[in-house]
Symmetry: C2
Subunit: 654 residues, 2 copies
């Protein structure tokens, strides 16, 4: 007969339903340096013996586990926590065994209370003490051995009985555990990212639009001169730029995505590769590799990081099209298949074929590309359309790169179906673009935030909220209403601890869309623009204020710490974020860009630690105003033409 | 660097979240012979290619999968089903691959519609046809090869274009799939039980109480003469008897569980083993092994099955106590540790030690015990206190036994914590005793039934509802109210398709409890009783009727097909069960054993397939009355002193 017995048939403990956990341990759960990981699990056994239950954790590369006792919290469930202080992969698990020593003490106590004679139980206790003495340090053995002697000496019966119930005995039982037939749950993985992955404000610009004078092609030096001072002043700390590589000339696109480029059209940065090189070469008009490295180091000195853009596709002029045609689909006429979404043709782009027979070399080359950027000092990569490349590749390449650069952050630019976006996040992407751009009503926003922060997605999906991108000018902004820009900006920056804007077109509140589309008219994707990098308006005032408040208030530096508050008006959205250090931020937004709205917000007093009859201050960090509130229900009145939101810090006993 | 590439790096498809599924495939999902298994899964890939998605299933012992196409049901989810006709283990999974042929047809269609020239696409099509011709049967190759020729012949361009869009081409694409880089989810397990596991009515008696004359020890022959005719007449089909083995004499228990047995006390059947033998021997007072086999064969001829009782424990006189003292806990004084729950002692029982060093032989001996019973013809086993024996043993032994006797049904008598009961069911127990015995209010009953039938428990937990057992006389019955016995019986038999009663004490509506306990006074566990096996009363009338109705109405032969109906009275409980054959049973119970109750029940018209203005008959199968109902809301009035329930069959267009 064919059913094999288990290897450890004497093990009696079941360990199940550990949280946090993602798809049965298939994927790593994610956290940030400094986090406390609260672990729970169901642990039980047959019969009535007592259990010892331990939480184990370690850095994956370490050899030994760190152990801590877990507390019983009811219904066969145990809890404990551990802290993570390093940007690397950890593992954690639960182990448990039948605690025969504790069970013995529990039983002898009941018998002594019942006035039973316990001579045999004391002999059992002596055997337990013998085992303890064996594992105790040399200098600690003596008292244990003495106790064993007393337990075996019937003339010391009363003394032995008293000692069997003593706290010392209890301590020894915990200190010298009799670990027999230990059950250990298969270890679970935890990926811990650096702080920047938790909290960042992205500024997306086209370097070629950074020139000081109109009509010139901007350079990295122009970025240093014009972009960095502005973004620093506004409070952004990640500079994201689209691809900076040579652009192909065959089938180059013209302004507004026309198919016939004029001779002076600069092309799309995503049409990567020319005879000057591919993904590791630099477009000469932008500068040299040294200029790029200089930009990175200037950024660093300003506490700004550079995010580069990885678009795995080639122009027909890319070196790979000649050196590795097998990485692409070759058609029966011998030509390489360009990108299509029939009937549309994108003849300026060759997509890579991840079903290539030579996939191993393809994967290696792509990994080496990223590692090369890593050597240049790049630690953030925005990946263009990752959902059109093989999932298995991402899981492998992100893990490979993070072995070398654990601080490398990957942002998935996948505006696609929910399950595909979720899969990319599970496979290792640090951040994800989101549906925020199209979530406008109160119900939509609450549902979406709860999906991100209250479901399993809290363990792996890190949203990065963008009111616009260089590809997207959403309908909500095409009205060009100043309050709407203020609202959409404010929610991105306060709902999510990671957010960004495509600038300076966003700050300028540009509303001109390509007709019928959610795209910019005369998009910078297809032409060089020139900007005044010093203009100020109401929106830049708000941005500067909110970014400063984010820096100063740790409650805004995380996303999952959000709780929505009841408020009796469908146009008013209220949400509280709290930090364990006591920082509490209550944001209230009027979603109606046209009209004043008022209502009564219900403050969750239990979360802010106030009694119903206790006064507290809500301090609007935008206007500077302070209000004295008391109890759950408080009145709100927001005029979008003045300022469509409050950004309250809850301040304590004054 | 250390991250291994996947073996199949060209695979692009993700398959996730298959349902049904239990704990990530760790445990088998359960079903019954004749069931249709509805399988769903998330299946998706990068990019925009089309997918082929197939459901695979097979008996585990078969070599080859049976394939069927899955339908897209939205949000990257696919569905298909398969039927199971055999009592054995099955496996099922989903496999999928990029359907390049279907993608090709989809694309060429879009291009043709756009009036693009598709000469290269036709050449691609010719390659697809070449592959089809290779795998087609010899006699089917010709037309495919001809089509390929036409696709390659530019003088037949129009013909080729027309054919590329044809239904024939579409059929060939599905019939001759180009299976490259197939992704297959790890197979999931499904255990299929025989019909008896789905639908049964248990009759629990002590054979020693079956004698025809008072003062005699009943025998297997008495069971044949007195018990079988009664249970058959009442409509029960499983006869469950407690252990029938020799009973130990050391520390034997007397009447009412007293510790000093009198010389004529017969002892507890659970004190198993004497010098006459242990778990495979028969207590001579009951008869011989041949008598037992005769009883089993008489049962069979009456469509009744015998359920034996497996209690893994020994009296101090059991042969194992001498032959295998190492299977027990031996105390420092050399004696075997008896059962305890300090300060209580159960010196008549030696529990087996599943941490024994010699666990392998212990497991084998226990398995052989069950297999021996199997050879006698036993196919149902009620296991006493399985929650005090090692979980790992149960998983192994149930699988081992069911390899030989797939029709063996195991009922877990585990009245204990929820997670322990759930674990036993996951590990393979066919049936579980439940908390039904203590669920009395409407809210409790609905919550508990929904937990059993709407959560993951629907996949593995098969409740067996008992209003009483030989160990339990619940407080609800200690009042001795006839309506309460009717109510508790009726709900057991109609909420759950498997149920039982400890008889004839239940039918006799005995209410005498041991003072302060939920146990029978003068329990048959400790003494021989004598019964009139022919008495009739209102309860036996109801039992006979309900068992007949259960036999005649397939809706009552399953448990998970239940829907509770709104009814505006907390003392009225209404639930609908439906079968795909159109059978629909609506039960309405007055939970108040004292007072008339009335209310308005809301009939879920969508589930019974009636229009709001359509009349239908509800036919009370207990009273025979028929009522004409129309629309959702219908009036109910139940007097517990007449009959505290309706058992309506919904009957159609008349």
């Amino acid at each position: 007969m064919g059913i094999p017995k288990p290897i450890q048939g004497q093990n009696r403990v079941i360990i199940e339903k550990i949280t946090p956990q993602l798809d049965g341990g298939r994927f790593a759960v994610k956290a940030f340096v400094g986090d406390t990981i609260n672990v729970e699990g169901d642990v039980f056994l047959d019969g009535h013996d007592l259990l010892a239950v331990r939480l184990l954790h370690k850095k994956t590369k370490d050899r030994n586990w760190t152990e801590s006792a877990m507390s019983f919290i009811g219904n066969d469930r145990y809890a404990a926590s551990f802290s993570v202080d390093t940007n690397c992969q950890y593992q954690y698990t639960i182990e448990s065994w039948v605690d025969h020593s504790a069970s013995w003490q529990h039983e002898i106590k009941a018998k002594i209370k019942d006035n039973q004679h316990v001579n045999i139980e004391l002999l059992v206790g002596a055997l337990i003490l013998d085992k303890m003495a064996k594992i105790a340090a040399k200098e600690d053995k003596k008292p244990i051995q003495n106790a064993a002697k007393i337990f075996r000496d019937s003339t010391h019966y009363d003394e032995a009985v008293a000692f069997s119930l003593s706290d010392t005995m209890k301590e020894w039982i915990s200190q010298y555990p009799d670990k027999q037939n230990v059950t250990q749950h298969p270890p679970l993985k935890l990926w811990v990212d650096r702080e920047k992955a938790a909290f960042s404000a992205w500024y997306s610009v086209f370097p070629r639009s950074a020139a000081s004078r109109n009509g010139q092609h901007g350079t990295f030096k122009d970025v240093e001169a014009n972009v960095l001072p502005r973004m620093k002043s506004l409070g952004f700390d990640v500079l994201y730029i689209p691809p900076i590589h040579p652009i192909g000339t065959q089938f180059r696109k013209g302004k507004n995505n026309t198919t016939n480029a004029l001779p002076d059209d600069v092309g799309v940065p995503y049409g990567i590769g020319s005879e000057l090189g591919g993904h590791t070469a630099i477009l000469p008009e932008l500068g040299t590799l040294d200029d790029l490295k200089h930009l990175i180091s200037v950024c660093k000195s300003m506490d700004i990081e550079l995010a580069m853009d990885l678009a795995i596709q080639c122009s027909p002029d890319h070196p790979w099209a000649k050196s590795h045609p097998e990485w692409f689909k070759v058609r029966p006429d011998g030509t390489i298949q360009y990108a299509e979404n029939p009937p549309k043709k994108y003849q300026d782009i060759y997509p890579v074929n991840f079903e290539s027979e030579n996939w191993v070399e393809l994967w290696e080359e792509l990994k080496n590309t990223i590692l090369t950027w890593g050597k240049w000092g790049v630690r953030i990569i925005r990946v263009d359309n990752p959902h059109t490349k093989a999932f298995g590749f991402w899981e492998w390449v992100i893990a490979e790169v993070q072995e070398v650069y654990p601080d490398m952050i990957f942002l998935a630019e996948a505006f696609t179906k929910p399950k595909v976006m979720q899969q990319l996040a599970k496979l290792g992407y640090t951040h994800s673009y989101t549906y925020y751009t199209w979530r406008n009503t109160k119900a939509e926003l609450i549902e979406y935030m709860n999906e991100l922060t209250q479901t399993d997605q809290q363990y792996y999906m890190r949203p990065n909220f963008w009111p616009n991108t260089h590809d997207i000018l959403p309908y909500s902004l095409q009205g060009g209403l100043e309050p709407m820009f203020l609202i959409r900006y404010f929610m991105a920056a306060t709902l999510s601890s990671n957010y960004g804007t495509f600038s300076p077109v966003f700050e300028a509140m540009v509303k001109d869309a390509y007709p019928g589309k959610e795209e910019y008219s005369h998009s910078e994707k297809y032409e060089v623009k020139w900007w005044d990098w010093t203009f100020e308006n109401k929106l830049t005032h708000l941005i500067r204020t909110v970014n400063r408040v984010r820096q100063e208030n740790s409650a805004l530096q995380r996303t999952n710490n959000i709780t929505f508050c009841d408020i009796n008006n469908d146009q008013l959205l209220a949400y509280l974020k709290t930090h364990q250090n006591g920082n509490q931020i209550l944001s209230i937004v009027n979603l109606d860009a046209y009209n004043k709205q008022n209502g009564v917000v219900k403050v969750p007093l239990n979360l802010i630690g106030k009694h119903p009859d206790e006064e507290f201050i809500v301090h609007d960090l935008i206007s500077g105003a302070k209000y004295f509130w008391k109890g759950e229900y408080n009145y709100i009145d927001l005029d979008p033409h003045i300022m469509p939101m409050h950004l309250f810090r809850i301040e304590g006993n004054y």
